[in-house]
């Protein structure tokens, strides 16, 4: 069994097209997990092993977060493939949760790009230590020194080169290792032979200069190294120890370089991963203790404690459902009893396996720090499993409300059945992806966190489930809400022969700062019998589903029931539901209702010359500019913009800036719709009804 100090859980994060998939592919190859190298967009049509889905291959992006185990230098490395797009927030964050360290891949030509900033920010949020790999040193215009500067200036990393290139662009042959002061070249047909030699004469002055910079930066983390520098007794071991400390403390980012495509520098990056990134025992992890109202509680990566694990990814394989788990505490083996914190259901561990990208191996047990996969467990991704008796959750149970929806229609009967299967799977995998059938139009509606988010699922329906669908135009998920406290007193009475209906409800509705709906029962003395209180709650819930302004759900409402009346014979569940519905309708208009819309946090980045165009484009979209940051060449504008104004923004931005600016966006909050827009929405809603 692997001891904890020999494990690494690593993610590879990058801007699209930085060569992440190729790099992963080479790592698998050099770690002897695959026997042949495939190119991402290669001639052999096989594609890189880590890319599970055709779609990802086509778009050059990676969405799934499969975990692959490899071995390097006696260490067991779990590679977690992290999705790079912000539209997949939940998925990104869930995979970041299980990382202990990350490789930030940068393109030697493009440097720090907007997506790099996004993934770096996410890694920072989860306190993930990073090392950088400047890839594509063989490309025309490659300049790893500039990329290092950008890491410092744009991402505020204390970035320090551990290597310098031997030749760039077409002449890129290898790297100079500044720790050992050796030239490394990568020979053999697939670069599998690493040869260490003398540093070429012409590179020596640069190597000495950069090594001095490395020593300067590293010595801050080690008194021994500082002393050794003064006494001129520096050893590679001392440098490594200092760099490791700085990296794990997230105060230093070692920079490696090479070209994965040309098989240069990957092995030394692997040495860097095992050498400088932390093992699971060096990382603090917290769970939420649901017994203590969700208070954070520290977990210890100790196999002898009761097990706590997180299901971070579900996958449909040829042999059934596979659940990827990260074990935070304790150990599990076949037969271990666990409890799903969310559902309360108990399971017994059956087959336990470790995954390579396309093959799997049975393992007898797994312990704290490790990543493995379970067979035949029914759960959703994001679920926590604990030893019975514990009630811990690894992730917040809070899931953001979807902000955009799309009507989809299967093109034929066959697709209808397949679609149901696909939707069932997707909603389990991703809690921000939801689906329902609109009771009026009878259309199937899918909802998610952004345009691209839904696009990808529509594509997956086609490719993985052969479900062909037609889609309607994207629809913003508006909400309605109230702004004033209003009393209600409503009697529901019906006497048309036979059993009558009677129910009276008295109370008030008021704005609720957090959450969608809260029901409070303050009825005393049985003025409404206990049995009918849930009926009232149910009635309010049902009427909230569709607001009167534009027909969208009403959120942010607290209903307080204070009094009422009933009839021995005529009162019933249905009567009190109807009374509640009537009461709310009566009160709603007086409660100064308003329309809310999703507001996105938008970040635009481009050359300074286009700052004016970017400002104008935000202003025209009812956006509020929060800040702009300029560093001489580039400007980044952070703004808050209503989602409804963002459709088609990528095209607009492209033409405004000659394709030189990029943007990212994520959901921020629900904001009030200004009066003219609200009137227009109400007009459209009314026209739709008529």
């Amino acid at each position: 069994m692997t001891t904890i100090d020999r494990m690494r859980n690593i993610g590879i994060s990058a801007h699209i097209d930085s060569g992440k998939t190729t790099l992963t592919e080479r790592i698998l190859f050099y770690c002897k997990k695959i026997h042949k190298i495939h190119e991402v967009k290669g001639k052999d049509g096989v594609g890189a092993t880590m890319d599970h889905m055709d779609l990802e291959r086509e778009r050059g992006i990676t969405i799934t977060s499969a975990a692959t185990n490899v071995a390097w230098a006696g260490r067991s490395i779990n590679l977690i493939d992290t999705p790079g797009h912000v539209d997949f927030t939940i998925e990104v964050e869930r995979s970041l949760r299980v990382l202990d360290g990350a490789v930030l891949v940068l393109c030697a030509v493009g440097g720090v790009q907007s997506q790099t900033t996004t993934v770096d920010r996410q890694l920072r949020r989860y306190n993930v230590p990073r090392i950088a790999f400047v890839n594509k040193c063989d490309r025309v215009g490659a300049n790893p020194f500039k990329v290092r500067d950008q890491l410092e200036e744009k991402l505020r990393h204390n970035a320090v080169l551990l290597q310098i290139p031997i030749g760039l662009e077409a002449g890129h042959r290898g790297v100079v290792d500044l720790v050992e002061m050796k030239a490394l070249t990568f020979e053999g047909p697939d670069g599998e032979e690493v040869r260490a030699g003398e540093i070429p004469e012409e590179l020596r002055p640069e190597a000495r200069k950069r090594r001095d910079e490395l020593l300067d930066a590293a010595s801050l983390f080690s008194d021994e190294l500082t002393e050794a520098i003064l006494e001129d007794k520096v050893t590679p071991g001392l440098i490594r120890q200092a760099v490791r400390r700085g990296t794990i403390a997230r105060k230093l980012t070692p920079v490696f370089l090479g070209s994965a495509y040309r098989n240069k520098g990957v092995q030394s990056l692997l040495d860097g991963i095992v050498g400088y990134l932390p093992h699971p025992g060096e990382v603090e992890n917290e769970a939420l203790d649901l017994e203590a109202g969700g208070a954070p509680i520290k977990l210890a990566a100790d196999p002898s404690l009761p097990p706590v694990l997180l299901a971070f990814k579900l996958e449909d394989g040829p042999y059934g459902q596979l659940t990827y788990i990260r074990i935070y505490q304790g150990r599990i083996e076949k037969g271990t009893e666990l409890r799903n914190t969310r559902s309360g259901r108990k399971i017994k561990v059956g087959r336990l396996i470790r995954m390579h990208a396309d093959a799997m191996a049975d393992i007898g047990e797994a312990s704290a720090g490790d990543i493995a996969a379970l067979f035949g467990v029914d759960c959703a991704s994001g679920d926590t499993f604990c030893a019975p008796g514990l009630n811990l959750a690894m992730t917040s149970i809070y899931v953001p409300e979807p902000v955009i929806s799309l009507a989809i229609k299967p093109v034929d009967k066959q697709s209808l059945g397949r679609l149901a299967k696909a939707l069932n799977r997707f909603t389990k995998e991703d809690p921000t992806f939801r689906t329902h059938v609109d009771p009026e139009s009878r259309e199937t509606i899918i909802q998610g966190m952004g345009e691209l988010h839904l696009d990808v699922y529509v594509e997956r329906m086609k490719r993985e489930y052969a479900a062909e669908v037609e889609t309607g135009p994207p629809q913003v998920a508006y909400r309605e809400s109230i702004t004033a406290r209003v009393d209600f007193d409503h009697v529901h009475k019906k006497q048309t022969g036979g059993a009558g209906q009677f129910g009276r409800v008295i109370g008030y509705i008021e704005p609720l700062a957090e959450g969608a709906y809260e029901f409070r029962n303050e009825v005393k003395g049985g003025r409404i019998p206990k049995d009918f209180i849930p009926s009232c709650d149910k009635g309010f819930r049902s009427v909230l589903r569709k607001g009167e302004l534009i027909g969208f759900p009403v959120i942010g409402v607290r209903v307080v029931l204070t009094d009422g009346a009933y009839h021995e014979v005529d009162s019933s569940d249905a009567a009190f539901q109807a009374a509640a519905i009537g009461a709310f309708r009566q009160a709603y208009r007086r409660a100064k209702p308003q329309i809310l819309e999703p507001v996105m946090k938008v970040s635009v980045e481009g050359p300074v010359d286009f700052a004016g165009a970017i400002f104008a484009s935000i202003n025209q979209r009812r956006g509020t500019i929060v800040s702009s940051v300029e560093d001489g060449a580039f400007t980044r504008v952070d703004a808050e913009v209503p989602l409804s104004e963002m459709f088609g923004y990528s095209n607009v931005l492209r033409s405004l800036t000659q394709g030189k600016a990029e943007f990212t966006m994520e959901f921020l909050k629900y904001g009030r719709v200004p009066a003219p827009v609200a009137e227009e929405l109400a007009r459209i809603a009314a026209a739709g009804k008529g």
């Binding site: 004016g612 400002f615 104008a616 500019i625 800040s627 702009s628 300029e630 560093d631 400007t635």
Partner: protein
């Protein structure tokens, strides 16, 4: 409006009373002190008072990170809201925040002209009708007198009131000239309309007007900065 009533007795009004209406449109003002005395708090307080009056502010920062500046505004706002017992604080906050833009620059990386070009782009293309520009973290030690004249000219052309902070570094030599003018600002005297210095005095910080256009300077103001709340009163 609530907001107007609130700003009537604001420290900014007192400042304006003692400085012939404050710097005003087209003018430049400086708050100067050694590090850690409370310049940024004062600047952010002035900006927040302007926001309370419904006047848009551009906060140009040469030093701090954007999130740090936002935190400053949050803290100062909370302090003011508490002191004035604002009832609908979150709503007021949301409203005034829309009138503030933060622009972050690196002084060594870019010239004054580029900075002013971007600020102007924000006002014209971004349709952001700023009246006040706060310039925080500008290094007067590095500034040529031509740079300050560009700011002054910019203020005049666009009708802006520009407030700077100036950090006075201990160098072993005296910090102030005989008339109280900080030495580092002496060369820029002509380009600055209003100069106020901050002095730590035990439990409070004193504000002193050392230049007020062509008027005689008022000297020590009846305003104090409380180092605990970082508010002026």
């Amino acid at each position: 409006m609530v907001k107007t009533a609130l700003s009537k007795r604001s420290p900014l009004r007192i400042l304006e009373e003692y400085t012939h209406g404050g710097p005003g449109a087209g003018a430049t003002a400086v708050l100067a002190s050694p590090k850690g005395v409370g310049k940024t708090a004062c600047l952010v307080h002035i900006a927040t008072e302007k926001l309370f009056q419904g006047k848009p502010v551009i906060h140009v920062s040469y030093a701090s990170r954007v999130d740090h500046i936002i935190t400053w505004y949050e803290d100062i706002f909370k302090g003011i809201a508490r002191r004035r017992r604002l009832r609908n604080a979150p709503a007021v906050r949301d409203e005034i925040i829309r009138k503030r833009v933060i622009m972050n620059f690196k002084q060594d990386g870019m010239g004054t002209e580029q900075v002013l070009r971007s600020v102007e782009a924000m006002i014209t293309f971004g349709k952001f009708p700023a009246e006040t520009v706060i310039v925080d973290g500008y290094d007067f030690g590095l500034a040529a007198s031509a740079d300050l004249r560009k700011f002054k000219e910019f203020a005049r052309r666009l009708g802006l009131e520009i407030w700077f902070s100036a950090s006075l570094r201990e160098t072993g030599r005296p910090l102030y000239e005989a008339d109280g003018m900080p030495c580092v600002l002496a060369d820029h005297r002509d380009a600055l309309d209003l100069v106020i210095t901050l002095h730590a005095r035990g439990d409070h910080v004193e504000l002193r007007v050392v230049k007020d256009n062509d008027h005689p300077a008022a000297g020590v103001l009846p305003l104090k900065l409380d180092p605990k709340t970082l508010l002026i009163a």
